[in-house]
């Protein structure tokens, strides 16, 4: 790496990190259900990423790399908190006391019910379903981010969706009434 690139990369990198902040905050919020905690985790994540920027080999993989750091940071936080706090009690209190980022969300029963259902998933399932549905990572990318086998990604995702379907079944359009058309050309 030339001296110029060595000097300029962190500044450019810092800008890229800042651009990633909203997506990371959304993901962290879906995991933590607490806006302030999500912001703190993202701040820690970005600081670590800046320190370790030389470890990122593929710039296109920046977001996956950041999500991996965020997952580690979140897991560290959970481990530390479990030493001292009843996590179920905390999560329940945060779930009811926390506020949404937008006022109209507060009035949106479906949104709150979906968040509550996602929040009640076991940690591993919640991480997988949000990485796939919110961040649109492939199963292989999720496996890398969370350092788990791809089969585990699929089984956690399937269990998560089964639980969500059960929790939200009265919010969904009945399958029987859904008109499902297939235009399969010429087969």
């Amino acid at each position: 790496m030339s001296l110029l690139r060595f000097i300029s990369r962190p500044r450019h990198f810092e800008k890229k990190l800042e651009e990633s902040r909203p997506r990371l905050c959304r993901l962290a919020y879906s995991w933590t259900r607490n806006r302030a905690l999500a912001d703190d985790l993202v701040q820690d994540t970005l600081a670590k990423a800046l320190d370790r920027h030389a470890q990122l080999q593929d710039p296109e993989a920046l977001h996956a790399w950041l999500c991996s750091i965020l997952a580690h940071t979140w897991h560290d936080h959970l481990r530390n908190r479990r030493d001292t706090v009843d996590i179920d009690a905390v999560e329940e209190r945060e779930l009811t006391a926390d506020c949404c980022p937008e006022a109209d969300c507060l009035q949106n029963e479906i949104v709150l019910r979906v968040r509550e259902a996602v929040g009640r998933l076991p940690e591993g399932q919640r991480e997988v379903v949000t990485l796939v549905d919110l961040e649109e990572f492939s199963y292989a990318e999720v496996a890398t981010i969370l350092e788990i086998p791809i089969g585990t990604v699929m089984s956690r995702l399937s269990r998560a969706r089964t639980a969500l379907r059960e929790a939200l079944k009265d919010q969904q359009q009945p399958a029987a009434s859904a008109t499902v058309h297939k235009l399969k050309v010429g087969s």
């Binding site: 890229k16 651009e19 990633s20 902040r21 909203p22 997506r23 905050c25 959304r26 919020y29 879906s30 710039p59 296109e60 920046l62 977001h63 980022p101 937008e102 109209d104 969300c105 949106n108 479906i110 949104v111 979906v114 968040r115 996602v118 379903v129 949000t130 796939v132 549905d133 919110l134 649109e136 492939s138 199963y139 699929m154 089984s155 995702l157 399937s158 969706r161 089964t162 969500l164 379907r165 939200l168 919010q171 969904q172 359009q173 399958a175 029987a176 009434s177 859904a178 008109t179 499902v180 058309h181 297939k182 235009l183 399969k184 050309v185 010429g186 087969s187």
Partner: protein, 233 residues
């Protein structure tokens, strides 16, 4: 007996994780099994509900009130609408044109019977899907409702499907240009998807006449609420 198809496989279908052969096999089963289609539709709705429940927080530097994600109210539209159509156009290149046009005509007749308003959603850059979506769009743009008025059509692209509408990136630029001559058809790119491509260093200059929507989900929600047909390619 659709229990032979596991939820994991159906999930992989809606997550676009199946290989072409697996996808084709599943699509064949959809043709014959309405309850299997219903399960896929439920899973798709769940995925959209999760997406809609977590709007992107606005960046602090963004103008006040700006949102980078569609209104979460769109989940109501999915929950309330009986008009969601999980349409899949596939196998286009591998089979005969005559059969293809007959089947498309059947689809268009269904849409006509329901008012002639349709959103065509492309979330793929697979050539067969882009070709099929474009062909459907061309047919829809020329179709007329029972009152003799042209259909109202929105062609919405997001995810990898955005490549179809990129200047310099679309292999179908001439056909897209021809579609612009139809005043009853709007070509719409998802601004969120554009942002993600730009983050990866891809130039996202849109073809002339392509409009931007804050998010594909928001636009779809609006149209579903208004009773438009939904066709996915």
């Amino acid at each position: 007996m659709n229990n032979a198809v596991s939820d994991e496989i159906l999930g992989a279908y809606i997550d676009n994780e199946l290989d072409p052969q697996e996808r084709a096999s599943l699509l064949d089963q959809f043709t014959a099994d309405s309850s299997l289609r219903g399960r896929a539709c439920e899973l798709w709705q769940l995925k959209q509900m999760v997406r809609g429940a977590y709007p992107m927080p606005a960046q602090k530097s963004a103008p006040a009130g700006r949102r980078s994600f569609g209104s979460p109210r769109w989940t109501h539209a999915l929950a309330a609408s009986l008009l969601v159509t999980l349409g899949t156009i596939s196998g286009w290149l591998a089979h005969g044109r005559a059969d293809a046009e007959r089947l498309m005509a059947n689809q268009i007749e269904t849409i006509r019977a329901e008012g002639g308003r349709v959103v065509l959603h492309l979330f793929s850059d697979e050539p067969a899907r882009m070709e099929a979506a474009l062909s459907m769009a061309e047919q829809l743009a020329n179709a007329r409702d029972r009152a003799g008025q042209p259909f109202r059509v929105e062609f919405i692209a997001n995810g990898p499907g955005l490549h179809l509408l990129r200047a310099g990136g679309s292999p179908y630029a001439a056909r897209i240009a021809a579609l612009r001559n139809h005043a009853n058809l709007r070509l719409i790119a998802c601004r969120e998807a554009m942002g993600r491509m730009q983050e990866r260093g891809i130039d996202v200059t849109l073809l002339p006449g392509v409009e931007e929507a804050p998010s594909a989900e928001g636009e779809l929600a609006t149209r579903l609420t208004q009773g438009w047909r939904y066709v996915q390619s």
